[in-house]
């Protein structure tokens, strides 16, 4: 069975690029255009996703807030969660780590580095 990833980004262009890239690598991709939508999707089927890949900077609810929100649901407590962002603020990264972030990938990424982070996160989920 294919691993299923939820891609969260407010910019359609990026959602499409991510989806296409990951689909070609054999993942099943679902997308959400904001944090609220992502929470709804995850709440309806908490066990059917293997990984959440979210943008950091989004309107209303940013990726960090989404992460904290997701971690409140018991089934999603250890769900691999990757933030994909242009920022690399050590403070933000530390608080995200403490909130249970699996990995922080900085854009622009190298494709195989990015894919290895995803594969590694899914493989090592507890």
């Amino acid at each position: 069975m294919k691993n299923r990833i939820l891609v969260v980004d407010d910019f359609q262009g990026i959602r499409e690029i991510l989806s296409n890239t990951l689909k070609r690598k054999g993942y099943e991709i679902h997308t959400a255009s904001n944090g609220k939508e992502a929470i709804e999707i995850l709440a309806s089927e908490p066990n059917s996703y293997d990984l959440v890949l979210s943008d950091y900077n989004m309107p209303e609810m940013n990726g960090y807030e989404l992460l904290k929100n997701v971690r409140k649901t018991p089934e999603l407590k250890n769900k691999p969660f990757i933030l994909l962002t242009t920022e690399a603020d050590p403070e933000k990264m530390k608080s995200a780590k403490n909130a249970g972030l699996t990995a922080w990938v900085k854009k622009p990424y190298k494709l195989d580095a990015f894919l290895s982070q995803i594969a590694y996160a899914i493989k090592n989920r507890s």
């Binding site: 910019f11 890239t21 690399a88 050590p90 990995a103 190298k110 494709l111 290895s116």
Partner: protein, 672 residues
């Protein structure tokens, strides 16, 4: 540079447009938090998109730009007119740079650096003291020691390898590593490298693998060489040599993400350009909008034109046969082909609102430059026009607006003195009228001073001293080539390429310019443009056996004269007296060297028709044997053989299957 699908450029261009309009709105409300947040977010999205499209340099530029708005929205300093001005320059740059999105051209990177420097200068002045303003101190040398807690092998897919690969590929950095790997597993890994990233920043890269390994990072001084393993020491001279001023400069460039050399190397592991274009292709497939190249639409249009021509032939034949069935088929086909034409036609329509931001931008820049207050109102911006027409209209419209502000709208003091509101108003109205779109540009400025125009026209020898011209006629003198009423040639308008170019450009798309001005009250310029470029409303005429179409927008009057009067003309162009007025007349027969033998009807025809047409204020007659009537001509380009034929802009097939040539009145009048 790799060729990209237009779709990706469009994405960025759309984002830039929205950002530009944000900045323009911010001009009047510096502390509108919502707009500031929006601008920051737009910049952030542009950066993100640029990075995703693998345009590192472009993204890095936007990153620096974005930081400023991050600081402003966080109230580190106030937004100012100067920052907005510069931001708009940055938008212009980013828009142009879409053509060179990897900053491979020398001037692209130079401009990028200049803009970033200006932004830095402005914002450094503004940074409230006490706030930490980051001072760039140059790269440091780091020594990194990694001790894995798990079994770590080379190329085992652990993220650590990629983090290190990433560090390694930081531009202009010397990187040395040494691994001890007994039995394949790595036990201790020492790395020495130069980086302009801060220590915490580098450490944070390893944050998410810290369960698996122990890392120790320290800044390394050349004096501490004993900490190095023997093999690493060999590289020390190299590092010392490179740590001079030159390296710092290189790194500074690298900080902005700009490479001095133009060698975009595709390293293993990067997204390959091919892969990207594939994903873009897929992306285009998925969206509900379809991006079609202009060529394909043109092709389609030309086939439909062909169909319409065929249909006209069919209709004529059907009339001959008096067959009920054939007649019905022909009528249905007419209905279908007309609908088809309209549908295809609507594909290439875009609203005039596309130009709105450019109008606003121009007004913003100019009113600032000239110290005038101007308010722009647009009505009917949803009116749609052919994309090609919009493109050819952009420059003329901007020029008219420029004139409105420069020559029309007075300075606030002047306006106050004349009992007007300090702020001038320019209204752009667009609406449909039959087969045309009308665009009216009205300003409440000082209008055209006909006396000044007259004086200047006499000075320049455009009119004679004693010519008695009405106000209306005087107004049109501003369309005369080389006419400029600005006393001094300003930066803004009045380079001598003035309204005549506007007129010419609009006439090229078969439009008309109508001018209406009242001295002291304002000026109204009306532009009438056909909805389509491929269908011409024309006057069909005959010379001998040949058909010619004159675009109707240039036709003014028609006079019938006796042939004998006309035959006296010795040359292709001569003066005739028509209804008591002298008019230069161009004979088509003579222009195209069609002798009497060319047409048997020629001798029988006792009259000739003179069609008076005008280009700008030049009015000339065009002599033909007879006028057939009005036609809707589907314009077709002529083949290669006719390329050098300067007076003919194209051809069209008439209902009877004959060819009619479409005249380029502009060139015909100007060259004769």
């Amino acid at each position: 540079m790799a060729k990209y699908d237009e779709g990706y450029l469009d994405d960025l261009a759309d984002l830039l447009n929205s950002l530009e309009s944000n900045f323009l709105q911010l001009e009047n409300k510096f502390d509108n938090q919502e707009l500031l947040e929006q601008s920051f977010r737009d910049l952030h999205t542009i950066k993100g998109a640029a990075y995703m499209y693998n345009l590192k340099q472009y993204g890095d530029f936007v990153h620096n730009f974005e930081n400023i708005y991050d600081d402003i929205r966080n109230k580190k300093y106030q937004l100012s007119s100067d920052i907005i001005k510069l931001s708009l320059d940055c938008i212009d740059f980013l828009r142009t740079a879409l053509q060179d999105s990897r900053f491979e051209e020398e001037h692209t990177s130079t401009t990028a650096i200049q803009l970033l420097n200006s932004l830095n200068v402005i914002t450094n002045d503004l940074t409230i003291s006490g706030n930490k303003s980051e001072v760039y101190v140059g790269p440091s040398i780091y020594l990194l020691v990694i001790e894995p807690k798990i079994t770590l092998k080379a190329n085992d897919g652990h993220p650590l390898h990629y983090i290190i690969a990433d560090l390694k590929e930081y531009p202009n950095q010397e990187f040395l590593s040494f691994k001890k790997r007994p039995k394949g597993a790595i036990s201790k890994w020492k790395l020495l490298f130069q980086s302009s990233q801060k220590k915490e920043e580098i450490e944070s890269l390893f944050l998410f693998v810290e369960e698996d390994l122990k890392i120790q990072l320290e800044e390394f001084k050349i004096e501490d060489k004993r900490k190095l393993d023997e093999p690493m020491k060999r590289f020390l001279p190299l590092m010392e040599e490179k740590s001079g001023q030159h390296l710092v400069k290189d790194l500074k460039l690298a900080l902005c993400g700009i490479k001095k050399t133009s060698t975009p190397t595709t390293k293993k592991g990067e997204i390959q350009p091919k892969e990207k274009s594939d994903s873009l292709k897929e992306k285009i497939k998925q969206t509900s909008y379809l991006k079609v190249s202009q060529d394909k639409i043109d092709d389609l249009m030309s086939w439909v034109s062909e169909l319409i021509t065929m249909q006209a032939t069919l209709k004529e034949e059907a009339n001959k046969f008096q067959s009920e069935t054939l007649f019905r088929v022909s009528e249905n086909m007419e209905f279908i082909s007309e609908n088809l034409r309209e549908t295809i036609f609507s594909i290439s329509l875009v609203p005039i609102s596309r130009l709105e931001t450019r109008f606003k931008r121009l007004i913003h820049d100019l009113s600032r430059e000239l110290n005038k207050k101007v308010d722009l109102k647009t009505n009917g911006a949803e009116t749609e026009l052919d994309k090609k027409i919009i493109e050819s209209l952009t420059d003329p419209l901007l020029h008219i607006l420029r004139n409105c502000i420069d020559h029309g709208i007075e300075t606030p003091t002047e306006r106050k003195k004349n009992g007007k509101a300090e702020e001038g108003t320019i209204i752009v109205d667009s609406y449909y009228s039959g087969n045309h779109v009308i665009i009216e540009i009205t300003d409440d400025g000082k209008g055209i001073d006909t006396q000044k125009v007259k004086k200047k026209a006499i000075e320049r020898g455009i009119i004679g001293k004693d010519d008695n011209l009405k106000d209306d006629e005087l107004h049109y003198l501003i369309f005369h080539p080389g006419f400029s009423t600005a006393e001094k040639i300003s930066d803004v308008s009045g380079r001598g390429v003035g309204m005549d170019v506007v007129r010419k450009k609009i006439q090229e798309i078969r439009g008309e310019v109508i001018l209406d001005s009242e001295f002291g009250k304002g000026t109204k310029i009306t532009i009438k443009i056909p909805l389509s470029l491929s269908i011409i409303d024309g006057l069909l005429t005959k010379v001998g056996h040949n058909y010619f179409v004159l675009p109707l927008n240039t036709v003014r009057e028609i006079h019938r004269i006796s042939k004998s009067q006309f035959e006296k003309l010795p040359h292709a162009s001569n003066i005739l007296e028509i209804e008591g007025k002298q008019m230069p007349v161009i004979s088509l027969e003579k222009t195209f060297n069609m002798g009497p033998s060319n047409g048997s009807q020629y001798l029988q025809n006792q009259t000739a028709d003179i069609i008076s047409a005008d280009i700008g204020i030049t009015k000339k007659g065009i002599a033909v044997d007879s006028i057939v009537g009005q036609v809707k001509a589907v314009l077709k380009p002529l083949s290669e053989y006719y390329k050098n034929q300067e007076f003919i802009s194209g051809g069209t097939i008439l209902g009877n299957g004959k060819l009619a040539l479409i005249l380029d009145i502009d060139k015909l009048i100007m060259k004769n």
